[in-house]
């Protein structure tokens, strides 16, 4: 039914009244709000407590008023009421966009209340707001936000760990309660005189992982230690102590001896260590040997980073088996130029003297040579058609392959040879087992443990990524499989971090006489070299002696004359050279040496190659009243010790020594050395440097290399120092680089050939430039491989 007019009027009046009332109420609320806010502002200076009370009341009338909330925040801050201040920011945050300053204060409050997750969110907003700012103050704020974000993230990790630990503790308590309840009353705890310590299960706490705000899985903290528990056989001890009858002493010693034998059987004590000479094995090398003996049962790929001593590790294993009578024969395969080095290591450090393919007997004995129980052989000679059958016919208890990356390709004779050898233990050494392709690793591992990585196609399928042959898939599984046969120690685990070394080349312009001497010798060598019967080594030495000192040349040539090793036709020339030698009283190198010594107050070692030069320098130092100690191979051990002691003392700052200088003795207190003459073989240079640049050296090492301008040494230094920076490399790296270019040829032979083959200086320069380019290419290829292997293996295969 339609409303009457009267009813409509009443309705309108009612609405007007209602509106008036509500307007009135609103106005009075506004008035009241304004009054309270004004009061709050008024009191804020004189009575902040009252002011805060007023503003809080005002906010009951208009909860979203920005001014009032802001004032509440300010007053609460002033009165140090963080909860109220926090409320202010929470309210403000809902109605306006907070300024960076406000965000900063808000973040501090959240952090104070340990609300870390919210703190991270606010910090992120702060970072976003300040990211483009160039104003220094705002930039500071940005740093503050990022720092607080990280810190809050860290606190979340800590907090959740604590929670988990608490939870575990409660669970453990409950479990103990349950177990106690389970025990029957008849079961009384055994009487124990020794205090019982908890088993590791009790001490082991779960290490929680945490999911962060983005849901990313984070690793647990890395500094967590592992628990250790010690449990003593108290019963056995009490039984012994309560013995009424004592045992005879023989039983006592015998029991101890029995445990010693048992201990040795475990390989926990290396019995070969006492027999080492001229070397102190390092802890990680011993641990590596133990691991190979205990876990890998003598079949392993030793892939330590360059310079950590793979040879020593392999020889520790070898020697341990040998001392225990567990190997009766063996074969060591190395690249040809390294055969003598291995023989040297075996003899000087392990007292073992084995025939090698460098020996004349190798040529004279034929197949019989390969019947010796232990042999050090060039892999190239062993795999040759002539020897393959003889080498693979017999059985070996142990085979060691150095530079095993030469076996990376299973189609090569190298791989086929090692595969064909009948062997019980196999050690393969390589710092760079993977150069281009994971299949190289597969091929090496298959030699060690056929089937460990299944078949080649299964390996490709399971572990190789299509399109990138160096990027493995199923890393975890591969890591676990490789971990059963491979060790790769890094410098980090070995804690071998040597100070840097720096080299200076001191080039001397020879005097006319010195130049004449060098040229005469060169001419003599050329002439002698033309003969078919010429002894190449002798000629090489003569040129090197010319680069060392006139006295070295003099002694060498006199000896040859006395031994009638020189044909009549050359006798006159030699006598002329001897005359020149006798005429050279002062050399430019000596003058430079004196200048260097005058300006150097530190201890310094002068290395020379020849005894003649040693004698020559010895006289020179005496003449110039420079006290020095002297050290050479023909001295007795006692004399050597006395000389090293002199050098250690305060009065003597110079040690004059030959190549073998100070071998086996600690000379790390000295950090400067002079190569008065330069060995042509970079490995020999490394050995010299290695006398002072070794573990225990705390200062940077300085090397001064002397050479006559235009001499062969000058060219060698140009390549080694300037072109490939050999002197700044890690020990062992130069060998990796040379190994890639030398093939069967020794570096010293290469440089000698370039020198002798050159018809002019231009030729010579071109020859050496070519060699330098090859070395540079080899270096960059090595560095690439090293990088790849570091990335591939990381620290996953350390002891």
């Amino acid at each position: 039914m339609a409303k009457t007019k009267e009813q409509k009027r009443k309705q309108k009046r009612k609405e007007r009244l209602k509106e008036r009332l509500s307007q009135h109420t609103r106005e009075s609320r506004e008035e009241r709000f304004a009054f309270l806010l004004n009061e709050a502002k008024w009191f804020s200076r004189t009575n902040p407590e009252k002011a805060l009370e007023r503003v809080q009341r005002s906010l009951k009338l208009f909860p979203d008023d920005e001014d009032a909330i802001g004032l509440m925040g300010l007053l609460a801050g002033h009165l140090n009421k963080p909860e109220i201040e926090m409320q202010a920011f929470e309210r403000l945050d809902k109605i306006v966009e907070l300024t960076p300053d406000q965000l900063e204060r808000y973040l501090r409050l959240l952090y104070g209340q340990k609300r870390y997750r919210e703190a991270i969110a606010i910090a992120e907003r702060g970072i976003e707001k300040t990211k483009d700012s160039t104003d220094p103050q705002t930039k500071n704020l940005k740093t503050f936000f990022s720092r607080m974000k990280d810190y809050a993230g860290f606190q979340i990790d800590e907090k959740s760990e604590q929670k988990t630990a608490e939870k575990k503790a409660i669970e453990k308590k409950d479990l103990l309660k349950k177990e106690k309840a389970k025990k029957s009353p008849a079961e009384k705890p055994e009487k124990a005189t020794l205090p019982e310590r908890p088993e590791n299960e009790d001490t082991a706490e779960a290490v929680p992982a945490e999911e962060n705000r983005e849901g990313k899985v984070k690793a647990p903290r890395r500094d967590i230690d592992i628990p250790v528990s010690v449990k003593i056989d108290t019963r056995g001890l009490e039984a012994t102590l309560s013995e009424q009858l004592q045992s005879p002493p023989e039983a006592y010693w015998l029991a101890l001896e029995a445990y010693q034998v048992r201990l040795n059987e475990t390989f926990d004590r290396l019995i070969c260590l006492s027999g080492l000479t001229n070397v102190a094995s390092l802890w990680y090398q011993e641990e590596t040997a133990k691991k190979i003996l205990k876990r890998f049962r003598g079949r392993a790929l030793l892939a330590d980073e360059v310079g950590l001593g793979k040879t020593i590790e392999a020889l520790l294993v070898f020697s341990e088996y040998y001392q225990r009578g567990m190997i009766k024969n063996g074969l060591i395969l190395t690249p040809t130029p390294l055969v003598s080095q291995w023989r040297g290591e075996l003899a000087s450090k392990f007292g073992l003297d084995f025939p090698t393919t460098d020996d004349p007997e190798y040529r004279t004995q034929g197949d019989k040579f390969w019947e010796a129980p232990f042999i050090v052989a060039s892999i190239n000679l062993a795999k040759s058609k002539k020897n393959f059958e003889a080498v693979t016919r017999r059985e070996y208890d142990i085979v060691i392959v150095d530079e095993a990356h030469h076996l990376k390709n299973r189609t090569t004779l190298n791989w086929k040879l090692v595969n064909a050898l009948k062997k019980k233990y196999l050690l393969m050494l390589s710092a760079t087992p993977v150069e281009n392709n994971l299949m190289e690793l597969y091929n090496l591992i298959t030699l060690l443990k056929p089937g460990q990585l299944k078949t080649a196609s299964a390996f490709k399928e399971e572990f190789m990524t299509r399109g990138d042959p160096t990027d493995p898939q199923n890393r975890e599984k591969l890591r676990s499989l490789l971990g059963e046969v491979m060790i790769r120690n890094t410098r980090a685990v070995a804690k071998v971090d040597l100070p840097p070394r720096f080299a200076h080349t001191l080039r001397v312009d020879p005097t006319k006489e010195e130049q004449a001497l060098y040229q005469s010798i060169e001419a003599l060598i050329r002439e002698m070299g033309k003969r078919k019967t010429a002894n190449r080594l002798l000629l090489k030495n003569l040129l090197a002696e010319a680069g060392s000192s006139p006295r070295a040349v003099q002694l060498a040539l006199q000896r040859r004359l006395e031994n009638r090793e020189v044909p009549k036709a050359e006798e006159k020339k030699i006598k002329d050279i001897l005359d020149i030698c006798a005429g050279i009283k002062k050399t430019r190198k000596n003058r430079m040496l004196l200048d260097l010594l005058k300006g150097n107050p530190d201890k310094i070692i002068i290395f020379v190659k020849y005894l003649g030069t040693l004698e020559h320098l010895s006289g020179f130092l005496e003449e110039n009243r420079k006290p020095y100690a002297i050290f050479h191979g023909s001295m007795s051990n006692a004399e050597k010790d006395a000389q090293v002691e002199r050098f250690t003392g305060e009065d003597v700052h110079i040690l004059l020594t030959t190549e073998i200088g100070g071998e086996g003795r600690n000379l790390q207190f000295c950090n400067k050395m002079i190569n008065y003459d330069l060995p042509w073989n970079p490995m020999k240079i490394e050995q010299r440097i290695g006398r002072i640049h070794r573990i225990g050296q705390e200062k940077e090492v300085t090397i001064f290399n002397f050479c006559g301008a235009g001499s062969i040494e000058d060219y060698i230094l140009e390549i080694l120092d300037k072109k490939i920076n050999m002197f700044e490399m890690v020990i062992g790296e130069i060998d990796m680089i040379l190994g890639r270019i030398r093939g069967e040829q020794d570096f010293s032979d290469m440089v000698y050939e370039i020198w002798m083959d050159a018809e002019s200086d231009e030729d010579r320069k071109t020859g050496f430039d070519r060699l330098a380019s090859r070395l540079k290419r080899s270096k960059s290829s090595y560095l690439k491989t090293r990088e790849l292997d570091d990335k591939l293996f990381e620290d996953s295969y350390e002891i």
Partner: protein, 372 residues
């Protein structure tokens, strides 16, 4: 303090061969030296136990490193190297129980004066003043615990330890040559031995436990470091693995055609990853935790003349006495035993106010006073 191999003179023989020979001699065999080794005539019972003939010959072998025992009657040879069955059998018999032996040491010259200096040489008393009150020659007894330990983690390490204590003071003695090399020592004939006073034993055993823990901690420090490093490496790999798993799973959520249910299912699995990682990490911790078992191999009691030194320690106006021993075997004064933890110490503090003797580790908070 590691065990020295034995008191037997060094020969060219390998340790297993020496041991085999000593074993036979100890068990009554008559051993005769031969240029190429030795022959032994075994008592019947021993021959049966070892399954050998009564007459055996040990020969060095072709390369002197692979000796063997030859059984003429049976015309066969048994190797006597590490791990060979015969040596294993002998080890089992020689170590089936820990023997207790006593030994008397005779000292020709015993120090009579200069103990002030001897004390000052090795001891330091940072908060008290020592004065020698009196000295007297006395008999004292040391006890040597030869122990074998095996630490197990991802790998295992075994070793031997010798711990020496003065029975009277219960102080652990450092660096004592337990083989007593060069000393005039006599081993009384086997027979009854005076058992240890239970009071002494009760005082000694907690100290033995403490000394074992400290010594083993030092012995396995490298081993522990290696295991820790490996553990940390493994948990890092584990976290990397689960992170890539999570990423893969999250990526798979974006695949078209997934039902609501399968999305929810996958999300649930993703949410479970942190727990799974925590469990696996805990498993790793269990795997790498080091459990060390220690058992005694042998015990030796050494009775020796010594000098008992009574000293007075003065701290302010208070003083207390302590007993020291001049040990003629180590030729130095034995350390004092910390009354807080039992460790031997040459750096001695006295606590306030009770003047307990404390080592550097206990000096800040006296454990005895704390116990009340």
């Amino acid at each position: 303090m590691r065990s020295e191999a034995s008191n037997t003179p060094e020969t060219d023989e390998s340790l297993p061969t020496q041991f085999a020979r000593h074993f036979l001699e100890t068990h009554g065999a008559v051993v005769e030296e031969k240029p190429e080794g030795w022959d032994a005539l075994l008592p019947g019972e021993l021959a049966r136990q070892l399954d050998l003939s009564e007459l055996v010959s040990a020969r060095r072998g072709a390369d002197a490193r692979t000796p063997a025992i030859h059984l003429p009657e049976k015309d066969r040879s048994l190797p006597i190297g590490y791990g060979s069955p015969l040596v294993e059998k002998m080890i089992g018999l020689a170590s089936d129980r820990a023997p207790l032996t006593t030994c008397r040491v005779r000292i020709d010259y015993l120090k009579k004066a200069g103990f002030d200096k001897s004390i000052a040489d090795v001891f330091s008393f940072p908060n008290s003043l020592p004065t020698v009150q009196s000295t007297a020659e006395a008999k004292t007894e040391y006890i040597v615990f030869n122990c074998w330990y095996q630490a197990q983690s991802d790998e295992q390490q075994e070793g031997m330890l010798d711990l020496v204590f003065n029975l009277e003071t219960a102080a652990p003695i450092f660096e004592m040559d337990v083989t007593l090399t060069g000393l005039d020592r006599t081993f009384p004939s086997p027979g009854a031995v005076s058992s240890l006073d239970p009071k002494i034993l009760n005082r000694l055993l907690p100290k033995l436990q403490k000394a074992l823990e400290d010594n083993i901690a030092a012995e396995i420090a490298d081993f522990r470091e290696r295991m820790k490093r490996r553990y940390q490496r493994d948990i890092r790999h584990l976290a990397e693995y689960y992170e890539s798993l999570r990423q893969e799973m999250e990526k798979s959520l974006q695949r078209p055609g997934l039902t609501e249910a399968s999305i929810a299912d996958r999300k649930e699995k993703i949410a479970l990853i942190p727990d799974e990682l925590a469990r696996k990490t805990h498993d790793l911790l269990k795997k790498y935790s080091i459990r060390t078992d220690v058992r005694p191999c042998a015990v030796l009691r050494i009775l020796t003349p010594a000098v008992k030194i009574l000293i007075k320690l003065t701290k302010g106006k208070r003083e207390r006495s302590a007993t020291l021993f001049y040990n003629p075997i180590t030729k130095t004064v034995d350390p004092l035993s910390c009354e807080g933890c039992g460790a031997g110490t040459y750096r001695v503090w006295l606590c306030d106010p009770h003047l307990h003797i404390l080592c550097p580790g206990c000096r800040r908070d006296c454990p005895v006073c704390r116990k009340g």
